[in-house]
Amino acid sequence: MTKKRIITFVSFICVLLASLFLLQKLFMPKYVHGIVEGSLIEEYYTEEEKNHDIIFIGDCEVYENFSPITLWENYGITSYIRGSAQQLIWQSYYLLEETLKYETPKVAVFNVLAMMYDEPQKEAYNRMTLDGMKMSSSKINSIKASMMEDESIIDYFIPLFRYHSRWSELENDDFKYLFKKENLFHNGYYMRADVKPVTSIPKGKKLPDYRFGENAYDYLDRMVELCKSKGIELVLIKAPSLYPYWYDEWDEQMVEYAKKHDLLYINFLNHIDEIGLNFEEDTYDAGLHLNVYGAEKLADYFGRILVKKFDLEDKRNDEKLKKIWDSKIEFYNEMKEKQLKEIEEYGYIKSLAPNPGQ
């Protein structure tokens, strides 16, 4: 009798947990249409050959501005961008820490715009960076560093508690991609083939204090330390995005920091002409981010510097790698064509519009 009771109880718990797990899978946002950026972080785990020369970390200024395909095509460099929307510096740090558990790149590239944020900003962005990470100590530390005041860590461990209210807005995608999603990015690069020229850019507002926050500096120090301990070269960059405004006062601090720690710091805003960027046609949102044409130019320019500075080997003759990258190139070209077709047909990239189907 008692034994039977225990068996019933245990099977009840199992059934309950299984259905809750399924519901969690169902309710988590899929990020396959419209806002696809939420899929960036998790896509890394599907990569079969986690062995890259370069790892990028940072916000949209990395994942929309550099094309790893170009780096491969032009220089035989393998690279991966672990970027996510408004990635804060502690998130970048822990993401790098996590990535280093899988591989040890030669160079780590960090975009310094995130220095402007000294504290957590928005739950939605936290989610896009953190939900995609596999469970690890890095993830837990990142969650702890990123939580807004009214957030609870339990909501990160059990995302069902966060997303349960989506029950009334489930879409086909939620069922279709319940267990498996197709790749959307190119080694972490988010491709945009549309064009929207720059018209005007507002000047920066005056700030009471231009010094980056202590917290931000602290994580930058830790990042330097981490790379040093693993023998990885850390490169600081400021992508050539025209907005948000990059103050001279900020730039000076980064120049100084790089000098003090013997790092390479490149502010691409100072090299727009050399890169060959034309803000009439190389941006898709009037100067915030580059489109695929701009990203290819920037990758080409940056690759040249990297090869020269860090003596990176050209791996285009490696048969195994070549095979992998050939299929990546194919996917890359397919997507470019697809986007161009959509632009031709609808005037915009329909599959990436905020409300698909409208």
Binding site: I35, E37, G38, D59, C60, A85, Q86, A124, Y125, M128, T199, S200, I201, P202, K205, K206, P208, D209, Y243, P244, D285, A286, L288, P354, N355
Partner: protein, 177 residues
Amino acid sequence: MKKISIILIILIMLTACSGGNNTPSTPNEPVDNLNENGSDDNLVSDGFVFETNGVEIAMNQEVAPIIEKLGDSKEYFEAEHCALPGLEKTYTYNGFELYTYEKNGVDSVSSILFLDDSVKTKEGIYLYSSLDDVLEAYGDDYEQKLDLYIYERGDSQLCFLIEDGEVTSIEYIAITE
């Protein structure tokens, strides 16, 4: 079930009766004045209000009617949030910039930044006024962050950046949430 249907019937009867009593004595009741977020924009804001050329601009106010009154801006810029819907728009007019944010699909005023001394606050402070003028106009109830003097009223902040005893930046900022 039977009980519920009875309750429903009585409800309907009640509503019907009272509906008949509805005399049109108050035709101007603002009942049709439902906007998206249910708030009543006709109320004068209890926060700081900026006035230019007879147009009043309060924080968190819907921006479309203001733009209509102000006319076309000299310059216009819009920035998408990374990966989130909603545009942040910037309208540049003579003397100031108007920033917006999107809430429930409605563009609302997020801030106003003074560009030169051709505009002034309702209380008469403009760029290059002295700190004393500010204190005289707004009192001691401010919060100071470095050189920034922040006054709060209702759903708005008014921020003065003071350098060498002079106002070098004035900004109205909406408090959201």
